[in-house]
Symmetry: D2
Subunit: 264 residues, 4 copies
């Protein structure tokens, strides 16, 4: 019998599959803090064959995102518990064969479908509790406009991991630079007998379609990373804040390509 | 020692209080379905001294709301886990001393501060899981505009209780009529010895300040109420759909007044 | 029409009521840490007419509890999402008319029915995330026996507030002394116009029936309270640990009595 | 740089890894319902090279489990938010190279670490809300003894999917037969370009160590599966109940072996 469905669980009809096959459609808001840390700490997070970015190798982006997403039928949008999720993720840059890539080193999401997408895309997803102030036309909510003030928090296992408060200062040309390249991610599956990996692949992935509203730059009123016995985010101590940004976007993701199908 | 704080827990500094004293500020979106049910069922939900509304006594509004709210310092807005909540509530109309009031008969919220506010305001709050499609500038999300399609769901105790899908059809003059009056709510506190009520009061409450964007009328593509052993919402069976609406609003609530301080 | 139901929401059948009328039946495990803090801090948490306990007035019990509870039909026990909840609470002692009472000054629960019970019983309940190691016959779980090691944590609003690790050392005669008296609680309902309280009552409450297994004393391997902008628990700094205890109990609660029906 | 950590996210210290390397230790309770459905429906859920079990091919076990689990340091046991999880899963039997295996066809868990373990072990995990009555020494809780009555429920995406109530009738020789074989699971990783699978492996896995208390057989007082747009569990309609069981166990899992490293 041929079972169907893109990913777990697979069945004849595919109805039970946690994920529909790509393309996946996303609309959401991004709140980004960029800062510099010790590049040595980033090198430690780049498995072979990746190496540090040539320029500004210590740059980190910590990004909060509030998403609504769906597959091709868009049915999830009308049963919004299946469409809405939030995530926070740390991105660095790296080099592969002379080209610069972005790479997510830590990420926390709050829904199962987002976690399984991560397995497919090579994002190292864990569960977190993510909150972001949402823009709205009326007070006390901020608007995406000069003076708009947004808070963002991240927790996992009942411990606060990160928090930020930013105030929008004016239009910006780009939404930071750290998360601006195609992603280079490892897709690993440890061997079932515990001896190394059954699958170790380097893939490249980027959005298939992108729309974005005006980006706003922001001042950073508050930014803190907190220690936790289950995390290493706080080890990436900020030496210097680069900037902060807020942007509303629409994205389509439709797969990537294998850069190194079998990493030796 | 005089302990302070508006409501539980009270302390000298008030820092631990779950609620700051009013005024409370709210910004959010309302998705409303209005329908008619058997007026007898509504009469059964109106304790004395309330009676059925003179006109259209069987009208019910089921309203989903996605809020950000805060006290006077607005500190919660920048720690958004403390500001954001969603609720779904059923409203009917009733009569007291010849005047028409709105009255919330059932309500589900997803945060503790919202539940304690309910004790103060006389809303019969329980916990629920509430989801609403959110408007956003980019696809696949809808906009608050003709053709925008929104889903809304309610569950409690792991059972789906209500769901709706609406499509915005055009501007409307008002956001329905059932929830348009001051609220008439009972504030009860059962006697600690189990014999009747230690406190039974009828209060009136309404917003102290209101802002609203253009209301949109909507067609009702799907609307269903489901049975649950812990609920009676589905007993209010729709005989006829009146209409549906979507509106973004900003509200300030700053207390109410006692209509009957001691109901005998 | 006479509406029924013990507490919100009230209806003719009472089916929708969040709480059945007492008696309420509970079975669960208690993990208790007792310590001494500055008695001045406790005095600040005792509103009139309460005063400090005559002996050992700085004693505090921080108690974690993992409960299954239900009303008279016990139907909740077979739909366990409606029966199971966890809580953590801080208890002190106080004096009223020459008699010593226990009093809960802070409490966090994780279900709505527990929160509404708190309104009835005068517990200042907020929502928290509470976790306790559970005894079980097999490793790696501990047993309720000498050497059994239990962890307990409390968080609210995505911040860790308290954590403890204890190791059972042997049988004990009693489960601490701080929570051993009838409770003296204020039941407050702020006036709807914001001017003082519409209801302010002092009540006494205690279990109607009690069963308990052998209490175990424990060493305290770890105990920490953490600061939070929404809490004051950490202000009750431990000067000295008194002891720790673990006990499995069964309780019935069936109302209390009013000590001061109207506090002036 | 060699990054470490068993699975996502990998780092030099391994501190941030969601999973420690096996062995993994578990203690928990299993509530099992076994029934027969149409074998054709099971055949549809067996991808090649698996085929139906030779005997009683339509047998299904629906199992609820309440776990505490940890890695080799057992640190999670004392920070119990990291150790405790619940799951519900449907198991069938199948044949590979003449041998009978058990196979999990659907499974819902409530923690991220359990979900990532599933990726490693080939369990098709999604998130669910799982509740089980817990045994306890005192009423109103049941004991693991004749007459003990336990409820179990499963929901996902705010919809109830399954519920059961059983009453223990007496000791049983085994905890059912459907979940009694080594597991045969596919480990899949879809190709990043969407064309088939980058990894498709058949693995075998079983417990490395097992302890169990006396199994109890039970009568099935209530058993229902509910439709959901995201699930196919209810399609496996019961034709006949085989039996029900309750058992407390301790298990160690320490990897498996590859049966077919590359399924063509």
């Amino acid at each position: 019998m041929t079972s169907q469905g893109f990913f777990y669980p697979r069945s004849v009809t595919g109805q039970a599959a946690l994920l529909p096959p790509p393309p996946w459609h996303y609309a959401g808001d991004l709140l980004t803090i960029e800062y510099r840390t010790d590049p040595k700490l980033i090198a430690d997070l780049l498995p072979k064959p990746l190496t540090l970015a040539a320029e500004d190798p210590g740059a980190v982006a910590l990004i909060w995102a509030d998403w609504q997403s769906c597959g091709g039928t868009k049915a999830e949008m009308l049963d919004p518990i299946r469409a809405q999720y939030k995530e926070a993720f740390a991105v660095v840059r790296c080099t592969f064969e002379g080209r610069t890539y972005s790479r997510c080193i830590y990420i926390w999401v709050d829904k199962d479908f987002a976690m399984l997408r991560g397995i497919h895309q090579g994002y190292p997803k864990k569960f977190g509790s993510v909150h972001m102030t949402r823009p709205h036309p009326f007070a006390p909510a901020p608007q995406v406009a000069v003076g708009g003030r947004f808070g963002a928090t991240l927790a996992a296992n009942d411990r606060r991991l990160a928090e930020a408060v930013i105030t929008l200062t004016g239009p910006a040309e780009r939404n930071g630079f750290v998360n601006g390249h195609p992603m280079a991610h490892h897709r690993w599956l440890p061997a079932i007998d515990g001896k190394g990996d059954a699958h170790a692949e380097l893939i490249e992935s980027t959005g298939a379609k992108f729309e974005g509203a005006q980006t706003y730059a922001a001042s950073v009123d508050h930014f803190a990373l907190f220690e936790s016995p289950t995390e290493e985010l706080a080890a990436l101590k900020p030496r210097e804040i680069i900037g902060a940004y807020y942007r509303q976007i629409g994205v389509v993701w439709n797969g990537g390509k294998s850069l190194v199908p079998e990493i030796k």
